[in-house]
């Protein structure tokens, strides 16, 4: 049962990723990215990482992708234009990707000390995850708040009109 689920969703994930690259309309690409995200979430679930799966669906498939499609529709982006440059990039890019994937795959397949993870093993429960997050990794967790703050600050500074006359942007 688990194996069937794995094969189905791994295949779906790969198909979505390939489709993402082949589509020329931004909306189609964004929608196939959602397929990738959701099938990844199912794979996480099969590995017993239910929190990660939930976070994947809520954050990526939910929030981020909605924003993505929203922006694409708002800007009314047209079809991708094929230029000579993109043709050259395709000619060089696809073999390069294949080579890099091949290298990484051989490294991982040949690696000795990697334990094999069985499907449905409970590897990380939410409890363990939060225990690590709030004790051992407390400082990185807290520092992330500075990271988010600075991103907001940067977005305001770059996006808002401020011409020194105190006129609000919108």
């Amino acid at each position: 049962m688990h194996l069937i689920l794995f094969i189905v969703f791994a295949g779906l994930c790969l198909a979505g990723a390939v489709n993402l690259l082949l589509q020329s309309h931004p909306i189609s690409s964004a929608l196939s990215l959602i397929v990738v995200m959701v099938s990844l979430a199912v794979l996480y679930l099969l590995l017993g990482a239910e929190f990660l799966a939930a976070a994947q669906v809520i954050v990526y498939a939910g929030a981020i992708m909605v924003l993505f499609t929203f922006v694409v529709m708002l800007l009314n982006a047209g079809r991708e234009e094929r230029t000579r440059g993109s043709y050259a990039a395709r000619l060089v890019g696809f073999p390069a990707v294949a080579v890099i994937l091949g290298i990484i795959a051989t490294v991982i397949l040949k690696a000795q000390g990697l334990g094999s993870a069985g499907l449905r093993d409970d590897i990380t429960s939410t409890q363990e995850l939060s225990a690590v997050l709030f004790t051992k990794l407390l400082l990185p967790f807290e520092v992330t708040s500075v990271l988010i703050l600075i991103a907001i600050l940067g977005a305001v500074a770059l996006a808002r009109h401020g011409d020194g006359e105190g006129t609000p942007g919108k």
Binding site: I103, I104, V107, I108, K110, A111, Q112, G113, L114, T135, K136, L137, L138, L139, P140, V143, T144, V146, L147, L149, I150, A151, L153, G154, V156, A157, L158, R160, H161, G162, D163, G164, G166
Partner: protein, 504 residues
């Protein structure tokens, strides 16, 4: 075991964060027409306090805190002081050179200070997750600052280029961290170092090393990953470039030192030739490209690539001599580069009205002070004795020779000669008599205000001290190098810390 409260180990970062928040709050509460200049002074005072706090950390015993995620040692203090010093100069510089009507000044100072939090944390982090977050903080701050001139086409272009390529490089680093976690099962620097010799999957470790090096070498703009540098430096406002070309690089070099000497010391035979090649390539590419530049900021951008090459030469040095030489070079490079960009800011203006080398012609007659300073900093960049640049290069190449890389030192010396050509070109332009018959627009004489005067004084003093009495700083760098070299002593602590660490 460890009586030092954890908060003392991150005190400079805490002070900087609070300063940033204070700047934001005050900025929001001031009525709109009020000048924002006072916020710069708040930021400057906060940075000075953080600098003092870092010096105070010298009194703490070497050790880690927060479950072995941050460390304080002479090494981290050295870089904390350096980064806080650079940021202080950059804030002082911005105080006088940001146009009074420019937008979002409060955010500018807050971003600089928050960026400093990331850079400081980057030098003291001994947990790769924290390294990643700290790097992102410092990067995002600089991405935004690079695009601060929104009204010209160049600013946003620089910011977007920097952002896209920078994110790409960070992804490499992150991939490397993921692989090293896969190979060793941990992201703590000392635990990784202990696990690597026994790690069965050697190829995974090698891939991790390669990916992490790509990520870090991008941040220091070493040769094959340097393409972004000239465009970003040209498009970003000059006071930002003064910061951009020094502080994040110092932090990234500290990270590089930590990664190669503490995480992968056993793979020295691998990364050493790799860095050798990168060093030679950086020097040569940087200098050859700089020769052909007409724009001062682009020329200095290529020169900073070449300087990254000289610095990487120190990595060929054996053990702590290499680390000490590299640390010293970073300090010398930071002092002179901040100084020269301060001068360029004053001469060219915030909006880069006079960007070309020929615009600098006759500078010494228009403003004797600025002309003399420009020539002084150029002399330091060339590496003329009695300036910081001389001893930086001297120690770096001595370390390289000591480590057996004689050819690297020779190539470095040849490159220094080549570099003198374009530095002197600019220096001669500044010393030449101005052409009178132009009849064009009258060239404005740059004004030197109090804050920027202090910044220049600070940079000059640092360059001179490093060039005349380098002993003190070299001693500090060596002390730092020794703590970086001794992982076993510090590595005992994490296990103990875990038990005695309920909450901070």
């Amino acid at each position: 075991m460890n009586p030092v409260p954890d908060i003392y180990r991150i005190l400079p970062e805490v002070i900087l964060t609070l300063t940033g928040v204070l700047v934001m709050v005050v900025d929001a509460s001031l009525p709109a027409p009020w000048p924002r200049r006072s916020l710069g002074w708040v930021a400057a005072i906060g940075t000075t306090l953080a600098l003092w706090a870092s010096l105070g950390q010298l009194a703490l015993p070497v050790g880690t805190a927060f479950s072995a995620t941050v460390e304080t040692s002479p090494f981290t203090v050295f870089f904390h002081v350096l980064i806080c010093g650079i940021v202080l100069v950059a804030i002082l510089l911005a105080l006088d050179t940001l146009p009074a009507k420019s937008h979002h000044q409060g955010e500018y100072y807050a971003l600089v200070v928050f960026g400093a939090v990331g850079m400081c944390l980057l030098t003291s982090a001994v947990e790769l997750l924290l390294v990643f977050i700290a790097l992102e903080i410092s990067s995002i701050a600089t991405y935004v600052l690079a695009g601060y001139r929104k009204d010209t086409g160049r600013g946003p272009e620089a910011a977007i280029k920097y952002f896209l390529l920078g994110s790409f490089a960070t992804a490499f680093l992150l991939y490397g961290i993921a692989l090293i976690f896969g190979a060793t099962g941990t992201t703590q620097v000392y635990e990784i170092a202990r696990a690597i010799p026994t790690a069965q999957n050697h190829s995974l470790v090698l891939a991790a090393l390669a990916l992490m090096l790509v990520g870090i070498l991008f941040k220091v703009s070493a040769a094959p990953f340097h393409v972004w540098t000239p465009d970003v430096y040209e498009g970003a406002p000059s006071p930002v470039v003064a910061l951009l070309s020094t502080a994040p690089k110092a932090a990234a070099f500290a990270l590089l030192l930590r990664v190669v000497y503490e995480v992968f010391p056993t793979l020295r035979s691998l990364w050493s030739p790799l860095l050798w090649g990168v060093a030679v390539l950086s020097m040569t590419v940087g200098n050859l490209a700089a020769l052909r530049q007409q724009n001062v900021k682009r020329m200095l951008a290529y020169s900073s690539i070449a300087h990254a090459g000289y610095l990487l030469a120190a990595f060929a040095g054996l053990g702590s001599s290499g680390i000490a030489a590299a640390s010293f070079y970073i300090a010398a490079y930071a002092a002179m580069n901040v100084g020269i960009f301060a001068v360029v800011t004053l001469v060219s203006g915030y909006e880069d009205e006079l960007p070309l080398i020929q615009d600098f012609r006759g500078l010494i007659y228009r403003s004797p002070l600025l002309g003399a300073l420009l020539i002084f900093f150029l002399a330091s960049l060339v590496g003329i004795p009695f300036t910081g640049g001389f001893f930086g290069k001297f120690y770096s190449f001595t370390a390289a020779v000591g480590g057996g890389a004689v050819w690297l030192a020779i190539i470095g010396l040849l490159n220094s000669g080549l570099a003198a050509a374009y530095y002197l070109h600019l220096a001669f332009a500044a010393a030449q008599r101005p052409v009178e018959s132009d009849g064009g627009a009258p060239v404005l004489t740059p004004q030197v205000g109090v804050a920027v005067g202090a910044a220049l004084l600070f940079a000059v003093a640092a360059t001179l001290v490093l060039g005349i009495v380098p002993g003190e700083v070299l001693h500090a760098a060596e002390a730092g190098a020794h703590t970086l070299q001794a992982p076993p002593a510090a590595a005992v602590e994490p296990g103990v810390m875990l038990t005695s660490q309920p909450n901070p």
